[in-house]
C-alpha cells in the first residue's frame, strides 16, 4: 500500500525524521489563529480521539479550566454547559433505550453509568426459608437462583431493612410450593408445569412464586407452644400489602414468569418462602436494575483523500459493519463514501493494511458525545432508571455539602 503515498515513504529512511519533517511542514502551513480561538489542531486534540492503526492518541480529556489560558480560551465548560448540553432519544422500548448525550464530560457520564449499575436500588430475594427440598438442586444453589429473579415492584415504595425487622414497608414475601406426583398419572391430560402431555418431570418456573401480601406463613419455632392467639411468623406485617393502593391494582411478582427455577422428578417437591428486600448492586449484582448500562463515544470516519475504483471496492468489502458505500462520479468512475459512520466499531480493519490506508482514512471518536444504552431488567422503565441515577448523584453532592457543615 505504501506506493500510494510516495513522498512520505521514498525520501525517508527512519520513521523519526519522517515524522519530524511532517510536523515542520504542518506547522509552516498553519494560518494565524486569532486570540480567543483554538488552532484547529489543538481543538482537534481537545475534542477527538484519533484512532491510529497502532493505538489511539489524544485519549485524555482536558478538564483544567486554565488549560488554554495562554491562548485566551476559557476551558471551563460549566458556563456554557447549559447551552451546549443535548439529549437525543434514539430508541425507547419497554425495557431498553438508547440515547445520545452530547456536550458532557466522561467523568459525569461515567458517574451516571456506574450509579445505574451499582447504586440504583431494587427489590430482590435475600432470604429463603426452605421447608422442604427433595429436588436434585441444592438449597444454596436454589436460593441463589431465586435471588437472581428480577422482581417487578417499584423499589421507591419500599424502605431499606433496618435491624433485621421485616414488615410490610420493607419486605415482599413469596411462597413456592410445587411437587411432582409419582408416576401414577403418566397418561392423561396435560398437567400444570408439564411441557408435554404424559411427561413425568415438571419444570418449576418463576410464575410459580406466589406473592403473599400478608407476610410469612411460617411460624417461628420457639413460639410454637405459646398459647397466644396468633403465633409469631418470620415477618411482622401490620397490614396486608394488597390493601395498599399502590399494589392493589398492580400485584407484585417476577418480571417474567418463564424463568426456570428447578426441574422436579417424580416424587420430588420444593416448599419454601422467599423474602425480597431492597438493596443496591454494589452489595450484590442481583440488585442491579440494568443488564447492563453502557455507553460508547460517537465514531467519526473521515476520508482524507478520494478513494476510487478498485480501492473503493476493497474498502467497502473490508469493513465488517458496512460503514462505506460506493457512489458513481461519472465516466464509469466510482468513489467511496462514508454512509453509516455511527455503525463503526473502531475495529480498525480498514487501516490495518499499510500506511497508505492510514493516510487516506481517519478514524475518530468524539469525546463529548456519548451513545448511551440502558437495558433494564424490567424492574423500572429505562428512562425512570436514568432519572433515578441522576437523583442519586444529586443526593451524593447534598450529602458531601452537609458533611462539611
Amino acid at each position: 500500500m505504501s506506493s500510494d503515498n510516495e513522498d512520505t515513504t521514498s525520501s525517508s529512511e527512519s520513521e523519526q525524521s519522517d515524522s519530524g519533517r511532517d510536523t515542520l511542514e504542518f506547522i509552516e502551513k498553519l494560518s494565524d489563529v486569532p486570540m480567543g480561538k483554538l488552532p484547529t489542531h489543538v481543538d482537534f486534540q481537545r475534542t477527538r480521539v484519533d484512532c491510529r492503526a497502532d493505538a489511539p492518541v489524544h485519549t485524555d480529556t482536558f478538564q483544567y479550566s486554565g488549560a488554554y489560558a495562554s491562548m485566551g480560551v476559557d476551558n471551563s465548560l460549566l458556563d456554557n454547559f447549559s447551552n451546549n448540553f443535548r439529549v437525543e432519544v434514539i430508541r425507547l422500548e419497554k425495557d431498553e433505550m438508547e440515547f445520545d448525550m452530547i456536550g458532557i464530560d466522561p467523568a459525569i457520564a461515567n458517574a451516571f453509568r456506574r450509579i445505574l449499575i451499582a447504586e440504583v436500588p431494587t427489590m430482590a430475594i435475600e432470604k429463603v426459608l426452605i421447608a422442604n427440598n427433595t429436588s436434585v438442586i441444592q438449597d444454596e444453589v436454589l436460593s441463589h437462583r431465586l435471588g437472581l429473579i428480577p422482581i417487578k415492584a417499584d423499589p421507591r415504595l419500599f424502605a431499606f431493612t433496618e435491624n433485621d425487622t421485616a414488615n410490610e414497608t420493607n419486605t415482599i414475601v413469596f411462597g413456592l410450593k410445587v411437587s411432582c406426583e409419582k408416576q401414577a398419572k403418566r397418561k392423561g391430560p396435560k398437567r400444570e408445569g408439564q411441557e408435554q402431555e404424559g411427561q413425568t418431570r415438571i419444570t418449576v418456573k418463576s410464575k410459580d412464586l406466589v406473592w403473599l401480601p400478608n407476610g410469612s406463613k411460617f411460624t417461628l419455632d420457639s413460639e410454637g407452644s405459646n398459647s397466644s392467639s396468633k403465633s409469631k411468623t418470620y415477618t411482622s406485617f401490620s397490614c396486608s400489602q394488597d390493601s395498599l393502593p399502590e399494589f392493589s391494582s398492580n400485584p407484585i411478582g417476577p418480571t417474567d414468569g418463564d424463568i426456570t427455577i428447578a426441574r422436579l422428578g417424580p416424587g420430588q417437591e420444593i416448599e419454601l418462602e422467599a423474602h425480597a428486600v431492597k438493596g443496591i448492586g454494589k452489595t450484590h449484582a442481583k440488585w442491579s436494575p440494568v443488564a447492563p448500562a453502557w455507553y460508547r463515544m460517537l465514531p467519526e470516519v473521515i476520508l482524507l483523500k478520494d478513494i476510487e475504483d478498485q480501492m473503493a471496492e476493497k474498502l467497502v468489502a473490508t469493513c465488517p459493519v458496512k460503514v462505506f458505500d460506493i457512489e458513481d462520479i461519472g465516466n464509469g468512475k466510482k468513489r467511496a463514501t462514508v454512509a453509516r459512520p455511527r455503525k463503526c466499531t473502531l475495529c480498525r480493519e480498514c487501516i490495518r493494511e499499510g500506511k497508505g490506508w492510514e493516510d487516506s482514512l481517519s478514524l475518530r471518536r468524539v469525546k463529548d458525545h456519548f451513545i448511551f444504552t440502558i437495558e433494564s431488567t424490567g424492574v423500572l422503565p429505562p428512562e425512570v432508571l436514568f432519572t433515578e441515577a441522576v437523583k442519586i448523584l444529586l443526593d451524593k453532592c447534598d450529602r458531601a455539602i452537609n458533611d462539611l457543615c
Binding site: 478538564q63 483544567y64 479550566s65 486554565g66 476551558n75 471551563s76 465548560l77 460549566l78 454547559f81 447549559s82 448540553f85 443535548r86 439529549v87 437525543e88 432519544v89 425507547l92 440515547f99 448525550m101 458532557i104 464530560d105 467523568a107 459525569i108 461515567n110 458517574a111 451516571f112 456506574r114 450509579i115 451499582a118 447504586e119 428512562e383 436514568f386 432519572t387 441522576v390 437523583k391 448523584l393 444529586l394 451524593k396 453532592c397 447534598d398 458531601a400 455539602i401 458533611d403 462539611l404
Partner: protein, 107 residues
C-alpha cells in the same frame, strides 16, 4: 471530614466515607473547572476501605468553600441533565405517538 492546617486553609484533603470513583471523579471534574483550583486529585487509599480522599489546593480561597461550590456546580449540572433528559423523552414519546396516529389513519 476535612484534614488540613489551621494556618493555611487554602489546601486540605477531604476524606469522604462511603464514596468511590463515581462521586470522586465527577467532583474532580467540576473542581478542575473552577479557576480557583490550583491542584486537585483523589485517591482511594485501600480498595477494601469505602473511603476516598480528595486533595484540593487553591489559589487562595479556603479549600472548603471551593469544594462546596464544586458540589453545588455538580448539582446544577445534574438538574440540567435531568430536565433536558425528561424533555427529550417526552418529545420522543410525542413524536412516536404522532407517527403511530399517522400509520393508523393511513391504513
Amino acid at each position: 471530614m476535612e484534614l488540613g492546617s489551621f494556618s493555611d486553609p487554602s489546601q486540605s484533603t477531604f476524606s469522604l466515607i462511603d464514596e468511590d470513583h463515581t462521586f470522586a471523579n465527577a467532583i474532580r471534574f467540576t473542581l478542575n473547572q473552577d479557576p480557583r483550583t490550583k491542584f486537585c486529585g483523589y485517591s482511594i487509599p485501600h480498595p477494601s476501605d469505602n473511603r476516598v480522599n480528595i486533595r484540593i489546593q487553591t489559589t487562595g480561597d479556603p479549600a472548603k468553600d471551593v469544594f462546596k461550590d464544586a458540589c453545588q456546580n455538580l448539582m446544577v449540572m445534574c438538574q440540567h441533565v435531568n430536565r433536558t433528559f425528561d424533555k427529550a423523552v417526552v418529545d420522543f414519546k410525542m413524536s412516536k405517538s404522532v407517527d403511530g396516529m399517522d400509520i393508523e389513519s393511513n391504513s
